[in-house]
């Protein structure tokens, strides 16, 4: 099975986000692999281990530092790595989806995995847009995938603890919420070995596309409220909570 994982490099929010002009100050922030992509890499490798095939991981290199994320994916079981050399740190999901779709089309995949969303633009658009460009179906919010030759069984999560099982026909794009197992650990010795031996294929971004969002202003949130600690016995606390909910028109 020809499996592709589209990954995204995003600014780290381990620290407060530096702002410059009307966007993130990309020069003074670290870039990390999108957390949901760690799940989609795991799910892709699990599918490969179950049915055979090869996993190609592909991402847009925004700041020239994507290699470490690709090496990590290779150490976890991906077979091939491709980077789209964009050198455009602010490229949003619309622009990245177009470049990724063009690169993925050339790979003629049976199944494409993406993280369901990323914590920078939070729009969850990369998966659906790749699917649209490739003219194949998309299913998001996925928590497990079992594939066979031309079909797959996919679990999709809904709000309120509900889930649904879908029988789908391949090819398709899957937006992974969580892999069916927690992401495996890649030992550093293996990652370093991969870093020394692996070749990463380079692709030049193709096609003009407009950004999905235009930034007018970016600023840290203003603190307006604070938590109120309710004291007293549990009965008194409960009574106060009820009163509070009623006063807000919530009960």
């Amino acid at each position: 099975m020809n499996i592709v994982v589209a990954i995204k490099h995003i600014p780290s929010i381990a620290d407060e986000l530096p702002v410059k002009g009307n966007n993130v100050d990309f020069d003074s922030v670290d870039f990390v692999l999108n957390e949901f992509d760690e799940q989609s890499i795991e799910q892709a490798v699990l599918v490969k281990e179950a049915v055979g095939g090869a996993v190609t991981v592909v991402g847009v290199d925004l700041i020239g530092e994507l290699d470490s994320a690709l090496h990590l994916a290779l150490a976890k079981g991906a077979d091939k790595a491709v980077k789209i050399t964009a050198d455009e740190p602010g490229a949003d999901s619309h622009m990245q989806a177009k470049w990724l779709a063009d690169a993925i089309k050339a790979l003629s995949p049976d199944i494409v995995f993406t993280g369901v969303q990323a914590s920078n633009d939070l729009d969850g658009q990369i998966g659906p847009m790749i699917a649209a460009y490739l003219d194949i179906p998309y299913i998001g919010g996925v928590s497990s995938v079992e594939a066979s030759d031309h079909t797959a069984t996919v679990n999709k999560e809904f709000a309120g603890g509900f889930g649904a099982k879908y029988a789908v026909t391949l090819p398709m794009v899957v937006g992974v919420q969580a892999a069916s197992k927690p992401p495996r650990y890649a030992p550093i010795s293996k990652v370093r070995q991969v870093a020394q031996t692996a070749t990463i294929e380079k692709v030049v971004p193709s096609g003009e596309v407009n950004a999905g969002l235009l930034f007018k202003k970016m600023a840290p949130p203003v603190v307006t409220g604070h938590a109120e600690m309710i004291g007293g016995s549990s009965k008194e606390v409960a009574a106060k909570i009820v009163e509070l909910l009623k006063s807000k028109g919530l009960a």
Binding site: P187, I188, S189, R192
Partner: protein, 426 residues
């Protein structure tokens, strides 16, 4: 597998040896028998891993069990692990793999030199390389160290943010642009953890008051990763080691002073294998050497009853028991009392060998945390201060005194007590 087979015995009806009648059951001997109940395979599996060979040396004398800190709160010890392996446990897949803190108390008493300090990291590394189970919290600490340069996952460029509030100027060696006597390796917890920062700030004030010519690496400093090595991530350790040695060698300094015993162990005992052989010293040893200059600075009485916890990696692993005690006794007003388990037999806090990052995991396999057992022992001495000399310990023991109902015991790094005596109550 067949059930236990009872050994047959032979007796001679009449037997006299050296004039002593040993007829009948007095000369009873067992016939040779084949043991079917257990196989040596799972012992050999561990002993065949490079550096874990001594696992097979165990002859089940069990001297290690009563001194094993994990056995006190569970069912553990090298002798038991050997027995478990004999009866079907694959150590590389069992939760037992992750419970050892590499405290070295078993090796101290082992007549066969079964060395868990080498066996455990080797077996863990094998398990990690084979893709076996790794506790999620530990995996997070590994990933944090690889990504951020510290197990807490804090940003590298904030590594020296603490110096702003230390109350004294703290020179960064890169900015200083000249050789120094002392390069002070602060460490990850003293750089980022709020209670670690308290100790680091106290150290900075003490060094300054003593007129020490020191500097720190600032944003260039990264974790020593020794505990990650002992938890099985040798590749990560080697990556950090290459970086650290290169960074240390960029600058001219006479002596490397470390806040933490784990760093001492890494830089002094392990880095020589990677080509780094320069003087490294723990802060307690360093300050004890300056005791004559330090004593006149300790002006204020600190009226507390103190018990001191020997960190495994300062004591058993590096032989320093007296310097911390000398420092504490130099503080006017301090009364030092000992816990039952002290010095060579000191009880482990549970933080070594990666235990620092496996508290939730180990809790599922033990009756209580090692730090809780130790906090209770400290409280039983009647002390109102538990003094420590390892940056892992302040947070561990502060949690432990709370969870065991011993909040009246304050946990302080020795550095904080010295600082209190120098400056008075702030």
């Amino acid at each position: 597998m067949a059930g236990p087979i009872k050994a047959k015995f032979v007796e001679k009806e009449h037997a006299v040896v050296d004039g002593v009648d040993i007829s009948g059951h007095w000369n009873r001997m067992f016939e040779q028998r084949t043991i079917f109940e257990y196989t040596p395979e799972l012992i050999e599996k561990i002993a065949s891993i490079p550096n874990a060979e001594s696992f097979a040396n165990c002859y089940q004398c069990a001297k290690c069990v009563p001194v094993c800190p994990v056995d006190v709160v569970g069912n553990y010890g090298p002798r038991k692990l050997y027995r478990y392996a004999q009866t079907g446990m694959d150590l590389t897949e069992a939760p037992e793999l992750w419970l050892c803190t590499t405290c070295k108390n078993c090796l101290r008493v082992c007549p066969k030199e079964v060395d868990m300090v080498k066996i455990m990291p080797a077996a863990r590394e094998q398990a990690i390389l084979d893709g076996k189970f790794v506790p999620a919290e530990l995996q997070q600490a590994f990933e944090n160290t690889a990504k951020s340069g510290n197990p807490l996952g804090q940003p590298q460029r904030k590594r020296d943010a603490w110096i702003q509030n230390a109350g004294v100027p703290i020179p960064i060696i890169k900015d200083l642009g000249r050789p120094v006597d002392v390069l002070w390796y602060v460490g990850s917890y003293p750089s980022y953890h709020p209670r670690g920062i308290d100790a680091a700030s106290a150290a900075a004030r003490t060094f300054t008051a003593l007129g020490i010519d020191f500097a720190i690496l600032g944003k260039e400093e990264k974790d020593d990763a020794d505990s990650q090595r002992l938890a099985g991530e040798k590749g990560l350790f080697e990556m950090m080691t290459e970086y650290n040695i290169e960074t240390f060698n960029k600058y001219e300094w006479k002596e490397l002073v470390v806040t933490g015993p784990h760093e001492l162990n890494a830089f002094k005992n392990v880095y020589p294998k990677y080509g780094f052989e320069r003087p490294v010293i723990h802060y307690t040893t360093f300050l004890a050497r300056h005791l004559d200059q330090l004593k006149p600075l300790l002006k204020h009485e600190v009226n507390v009853k103190v018990t001191y916890h020997d960190p495994c990696y300062l004591g058993r692993h590096n032989g320093e028991y007296e310097a911390p005690r000398k420092l504490l006794q130099a503080i006017p007003g301090v009364e030092l009392v000992e816990m039952a388990r002290n010095r060579e037999n000191g009880y482990c806090c549970g933080g070594g060998g990666g235990g620092m990052w496996m508290d939730s995991f180990t809790q599922k396999h033990t009756k209580m945390r090692l730090s809780e057992k130790r906090a209770m022992e400290a409280a039983s001495t009647g002390a109102n201060v538990l003094a420590v000399a390892c940056p892992f310990e302040v947070s561990r023991f502060e949690d432990a005194v709370k969870s065991t109902g011993n909040e009246h015991v304050t946990v302080n790094d020795i550095l904080e007590l010295l600082d209190k005596s120098m400056r008075g109550e702030q």
